[in-house]
Symmetry: C2
Subunit: 362 residues, 2 copies
């Protein structure tokens, strides 16, 4: 069960004997804007305190995240990237049957299986059928084969990864609450566009069965610093996470970065949301004119193209070898055509360059 992901540029370059610096990477979805970081100050602080252990309870770190997201400090848990929190959450005894809305980020399933949990595949394309009147029996009829356990927790990424489609989750969270099911919503990509009305962050206090996951990885483009966090008002879950938490899992670079992000200019949010909203719309219109493909209407910094009569694997290899371009194939994702690809939204001229190549190809 090796981890397989996009963004594995180095390994692909070794495999095909390519120059890594020449690759244009459409396979990882990182913000093209970088928040302002004072690296001189960062280096000074790291130099001063690198020989000290991080605070094992992360008081200051949690205060900074609390400030950045306007969330009660006591609702916050931190991890070495969102990944560590996924693995820790899915290790909890509270969660034995894990319902995962697919297609989605592969680590939810991998973490469940490594932790020897029972995985239940849920087709996200049917999620709109859950309305305010849905009963547990309806849910079983809709989703579960006979003799399949009712999940203790449902997991989804909103906006979805890889499609970028965003879902109104008000009915789902109510359904979960009524039926004592936890809901884990990964909001890693929510801040890239004007998705505020879809975020469940303001529902944290109201719903103690809700866990929101986020990280500095994507929106703040702080991928290498490794810091993720969950927001949850349920004391039992927070206590359970603390009980199994590995000590000192957050490094000092992450601590220093979040300190500076606290003072981030609101312009950074506006610039990002504005750019990705417009660029996503522009690309949707352009790609919609091409026959033989379907493109998702995305609210995230990427979108999915399904190829009607071409092979995605072949396209990926061709682009890499002939054009030094890396895209993400989705053949290991569930509930989506195997001949689908995920394309990150980059700078305009780079997006156009890819469009020109692809429109010739399709």
């Amino acid at each position: 069960m090796l981890s397989t992901h996009g963004a594995n540029v180095k390994q692909l370059c070794i495999k095909y004997n390519l120059n890594e610096d020449k690759i244009t990477d459409f396979s990882s979805n990182i913000n093209i804007f970088k928040p302002h970081i004072n690296y001189e100050l960062l280096a000074e602080n790291i130099s001063f305190s690198i020989n000290r252990y991080p605070d094992i309870e992360y008081s200051e770190l949690k205060e900074n995240i609390s400030h950045l997201y306007k969330i009660d400090k006591n609702y916050i848990q931190v991890g070495n990237g969102a990944t560590e929190l996924i693995y820790d959450l899915l290790l909890l005894d509270e969660f034995k049957n894990i319902g995962i809305f697919n297609p989605t980020f592969s680590e939810y399933e991998r973490a469940s299986l490594i932790n020897k949990k029972n995985v239940i595949d849920l087709d996200i394309n049917k999620i709109d059928q859950i309305d305010e009147n849905t009963t547990i029996k309806d849910f079983k009829n809709l989703y579960l084969q006979e003799n399949v356990n009712i999940p203790d927790i449902l997991i989804l990424c909103n906006p979805n990864n890889p499609t970028g489609i965003i879902t109104n989750l008000q009915n789902l969270i109510k359904f979960c609450k009524k039926n004592n099911i936890f809901l884990l919503v990964d909001e890693t990509f929510i801040d890239f566009m004007y998705n505020e009305n879809f975020s469940l962050i303001s529902n944290i206090k109201l719903y103690d069965n809700l866990i929101i996951l986020n990280a500095i990885t994507k929106f703040f483009a702080m991928t290498g610093a490794r810091l993720g966090y969950t927001f949850c008002s349920n004391k039992d879950i927070n206590r359970a996470l603390e009980k199994i938490k590995k000590p000192w899992s957050i490094n000092i670079l992450a601590e220093e970065v979040i300190k500076q992000l606290c003072n981030i200019n609101t312009d950074f949010y506006e610039k990002t949301k504005n750019y990705f909203t417009n660029e996503s719309k522009r690309l949707y219109d352009k790609y919609s004119s091409i026959k033989n493909i379907s493109i998702t209407n995305s609210s995230a910094p990427f979108f999915t193209i399904s190829l009607h009569d071409k092979n995605a694997q072949e396209l990926q290899k061709k682009l890499l070898l002939e054009k030094n371009i890396l895209i993400r194939t989705l053949n290991n994702y569930k509930n989506i055509s195997k001949n689908s690809i995920r394309i990150a939204i980059k700078e305009k001229h780079i997006n156009d360059m890819l469009f020109d190549i692809l429109s010739d190809y399709f």
Copy 2:
């Protein structure tokens, strides 16, 4: 099962309303010398690549560790500090019954219990009774109560933490090999003194049941960077670790630090070994003159004092409140007097300051 450790200076200061900057911390065992790091270059490299994912296979990182320790790259696994590797190793199905030589670092037991493994306490004071003729029956008689399973893996820290006592493990590794038992040796503190003859690092290829654990945390004083590594020639174990490895668990600061440590001057090793060897001897002689205590003959950058007629907890609180000094109590360690304390070796004048205070107290 919350993690409890030394070095939790911040939390103790909050509890007792003390000024953290004024505390002299004898509770964490970090090298007092810092290797030379070019922080300007570090900041430049981090700034350049913080928005990229770390190489998921850590090729360059492993090459650098390979260079630093003169170890075959294929024998290396990396983790977010030694801690993550302890948790990953003890999650493997190969290890169900975990024999831990106590007293020792508490995370081996915590990781075993969180991973729902069976923990077997082994008294390290009896380890010298394992000789070249020891059979599995002898081992059972020496260590295991009736109906206790034979461990799949034995774990010890060499030199031991908290006593600092170093053990010749040649008989133990042979005994383990003969009986299909793995041996995990944590050598985090081995480079502080001239302990080369006790290290099993040159036995990695010969013994495929041997796993050595180390980190940049202590010797290189790179605590906040979070990087640990195991050395093991057993392909099945390395493959099993890769199968459960969380993706991107190493941050970019750790990657940059190890790059620079590769070019470290050998003087750093000499200076450290020389200082701690002499200072340990000097302190041993001084403390040996005090009645009513026993002091360990340590080969590590710390030593243990057992108090014959005083309470260790009271002493800890008294030193903290009256002198702003933090020491480590050992009441949660097994096979050692509850009234023991662990003292880190710091700069000479600081060690003398503590000696003067303690010799008045005992």
